[in-house]
Symmetry: C2
């Protein structure tokens, strides 16, 4: 019942990017998050060796990148465009935190092509460029220094989108066989027996040692195999007495 | 009742970083998310002009960076160390998705100093380095190309941490005065009146026009001022008849 992955329908549009290295780094950021459609509006330098170098293993994204002359051209076939900008600049177009907007963007991408639009490194998106987008997103950042590098902003944006789409599942942990209550009781009993024998524990004045050790053991979430190792260690230490 | 901001207690530790540009870009990524404590374990080149250039406005983070010889030294005063690595390499140390681990890391940072640990660009963290960390985090990424740039990984990690800490609130939208039901009914009535007068709407055979227009208006979430503008436009168009 899993719907088709919508990420390939999402383009990243870089408007008037100044530094070709950032274009390459943005391509890499996209590919790590499963996006592949890069559109460059009037880039200052492209293609460029710096773009190739920073793209690393995402050269294919650069090779397929489309260069267009205007933002209107980039958005002509898009059914939703999300413009990214720093906080609250444009009063007429309220920005939303990208995390809260990402699920709606994924849903739109399931219905038609979508664009994430990023402005120039120095000036960001102009007001006109923002008004060409139907949504306006902000990546929360420090008020003291909110200036994310362009490719870093693309990385965060694509990461949020991929997580909102449930695109990548972190693989299950290797199967663990958790110890049972009986395993733990046997371990406690064996430890207590050895500590009495060694003189560390006096059962007439036990204090809170048992409580402390049980609290510690509970936190460990021991596996069956680890209980066996601990038994072996205790047996060995017991023999040394 | 807001607790003290824990982000300054979180160090980013880069182990054996190869490219000074990545060190600078990582410093910038940290500062945009409110982190300031950078620790470099045996960097290949530092200080370096590339680090300064990529740090942009985060030169103060670079200036205060501490260079140490070993990971053990970097972690000596830390009460929790989270090692970042690609998916599921180390079977004995199950990785968790960083988003699910970040809140626990914020809580730990409220109690004592914490480190986020990143490995070398090419080889990542070694098994020994991972075992020196008490937690192991993974940033979900495409199976086809999971290789985030080092500074991009630092950006995503710090971003998640800042959001888990609730560090930055996107400023409230500018206050909107939403139109009331009476505003909307008056607008519908005026539109209907004009469309009847113009001949577009025949009230004996209205079809579903009213329904379509109400559905559209509902989606607009109109503001009071916008209702006034639309009334003005309708009045103007009505006069032209």
């Amino acid at each position: 019942m899993k719907a088709e992955n919508p990420l390939p329908r999402v383009a990243v549009v870089l408007v008037r990017a100044s530094h070709p290295g950032n274009i390459g780094a943005a391509a890499r950021a996209m590919k790590t998050m499963g996006l592949a459609d890069l559109v460059l509006v009037a880039p200052r330098h492209f293609p460029h060796p710096d773009a190739d170098a920073l793209a690393a293993g995402a050269g294919d994204v650069l090779d397929r990148a489309r260069v267009v002359a205007s933002l209107a051209e980039a958005l002509a076939d898009r059914t939703l465009a999300v413009g990214f900008s720093a906080r609250g600049r444009d009063l007429s177009h309220p920005a939303r935190e990208w995390r809260s907007l990402a699920p709606e963007t994924v849903a739109a991408a399931a219905a038609g092509p979508v664009a994430l639009v990023f402005g120039n490194e120095t000036s960001g998106l102009s007001n006109d460029e923002l008004l060409a987008c139907q949504r306006h997103a902000t990546i929360p950042a420090s008020a003291e220094y909110p200036s994310l590098n362009l490719a870093a902003a693309v990385q965060v944006a694509c990461y949020e989108l991929a997580l909102a789409a449930g695109a990548f599942r972190v693989p299950d942990r290797p199967p663990r066989t958790r110890a049972t209550g009986a395993d733990l009781e046997a371990l406690h009993a064996r430890l207590q027996q050895l500590l009495v024998a060694s003189g560390f524990l006096d059962l007439r004045e036990p204090g809170r040692l048992d409580e402390r050790m049980r609290r510690l053991a509970a936190r460990l979430d021991l596996e069956t195999e680890e209980v066996a190792i601990l038994h072996g260690m205790l047996d060995s230490l017991g023999r040394r007495k």
